[in-house]
């Protein structure tokens, strides 16, 4: 017997937690499925200073911890499992997981995204031996050493600024002439004496012995190749949406994000997508929580309409 829910939420970041708060507060039998610990990527942030209501800032872990507590207060159930697929059975949506199947009237997909790989030679070989995708995790292993950060967006600059508290020098490698990061972060980066920049450059190969020793860079304007000695390289070039388990059941945009309308509805009735996984998301906690609330409200409406028949 498959357990029946009103709303199943896939992913426990801010978008999923917010959907959970709204769904359970609407007295819908709701289940949130998360692979590990709830909180999502924002837990990496030492300090969130743009979420309204926290004028003095708050840690990502603190903020999502509060969201989780708030959702549980209204009766949200959470399950630690890996979702392996969604199947349609008439009006019912079956969420298949490593801990069994769950039937639901509506499903809210909030499984977010993960760091994109660089695709450079040596990247996989040196993963965990100097190649990292998480500066908050691994920064402390590079005390007083020279490290590189690849990328030029908010994530890359935030990581680079974090690394300056450990490393002797941090070199930002960016394939363009200027940063894409928000101006405030760009200004902080330009003012930091430990940061240096290699513009118009891409990493062609990560080299070393047991651990990373250097990077082979190519200037995209001049095609000049150079070697940069570093002990570590942090990759922050972008994100990849976690949609593999959907196996093509929903239309995606050219970058692989799920297409929704303004109600967060996907192409399949009763299935919604919210937060970073949604095409057009601005990838902020505040927009993710807004998405989650929107989807939960329209899922509620959808369930009521279908109950009438």
């Amino acid at each position: 017997m498959v357990e029946q829910y009103d709303i199943v939420i896939i992913g426990g970041g801010p978008a999923g937690l917010s959907a959970g708060i709204y769904a359970s507060r609407a007295l819908r039998k709701s289940l949130l499925i998360e692979m590990g610990f709830t909180g999502g990527q924002i837990v990496d942030a030492e300090f969130v200073e743009n979420y309204p209501g926290f004028p003095d800032g708050i840690s990502g872990l603190g903020l999502t911890g509060l969201m989780h507590r708030q959702a549980e207060k209204f009766g949200l159930n959470t399950l630690m499992a890996e979702v392996t697929g969604i199947e349609l059975n008439g009006e019912s949506r079956i969420v298949k997981t490593s801990s069994g199947d769950f039937a639901s009237k509506a499903v809210i997909i909030a499984s977010g995204s993960e760091r994109d790989k660089l695709g450079a030679l040596g990247e996989a070989e040196f993963s965990g031996r100097g190649v990292s995708y998480c500066a908050t995790c691994d920064g402390a292993f590079f005390r007083d050493q020279v490290v590189a950060v690849v990328g030029g967006g908010d994530a890359a600059i935030t990581e680079a600024l974090h690394l300056t508290s450990f490393a002797q020098q941090v070199i930002i490698i960016h394939r363009r002439q200027a940063l894409r990061a928000t101006p405030l972060l760009g200004r902080r980066a330009a003012a930091d004496p430990k940061l240096a920049f290699r513009w118009n450059s891409v990493v062609e190969q990560i080299e070393g012995g047991d651990v990373v020793k250097s990077l082979r860079l190519r200037n995209v304007k001049t095609d000049d190749v150079s070697t940069l000695d570093v002990s570590g390289v942090f990759i922050a070039i972008g994100f990849k949406p976690n949609t593999a388990y959907l196996k093509g059941m929903l239309p995606l945009d050219t970058d692989g994000y799920i297409i929704t309308n303004e109600k967060m509805e996907t192409d399949v009735p009763g299935i919604y997508a919210v937060g970073d996984i949604r095409a057009g998301s601005i990838r902020q906690v505040v927009s993710a929580t807004g998405d989650g609330a929107t989807a939960a409200v329209y899922a509620e409406e959808y369930i009521i309409e279908h109950e009438r028949f």
């Binding site: 590990g36 610990f37 890996e82 965990g128 990292s132 998480c134 908050t136 995790c137 691994d138 292993f141």
Partner: protein
């Protein structure tokens, strides 16, 4: 109900390297999000694999000697020790099914 044990620089040799059963050591730190993700998975595995493998946690922040010895440069870093030797290593967060495969490969 078996739970993960805590190991440190001082008891690593005795508890891990001289362990009769295979032992998985989770090199972690409080500041690391994927480490927080791994923690509840390891709690379940400690229970499910009771008697077949010991699950241990080592805080790299307070135990740099062991972390350096095993060249831990990225966490979470799970090293499975068998007869005092590293037999398998898993870097980064992996779903439970994957961890079970890696554990089974060592203990079977």
């Amino acid at each position: 109900m078996s739970k993960p044990i805590v190991v440190d620089d001082n008891n690593f040799d005795q508890t891990v390297l001289q362990s009769k059963t295979p032992i998985l050591v989770d090199f972690w730190a409080t500041w690391c999000r994927p480490c927080l993700m791994v923690a509840p998975v390891l709690e379940e595995l400690a229970d499910e694999y009771e008697g077949r493998i010991t699950i241990a946690k080592l805080d790299v922040d307070h135990n740099p000697k062991t972390a350096t010895k095993y060249r831990v440069m990225s966490i979470p870093n799970l090293i499975i020790f068998k007869d005092g030797q590293p037999a398998s290593q898993i870097v980064g967060f992996k779903p439970k099914a994957q961890l079970k495969k890696d554990i089974d490969a060592v203990i079977d």
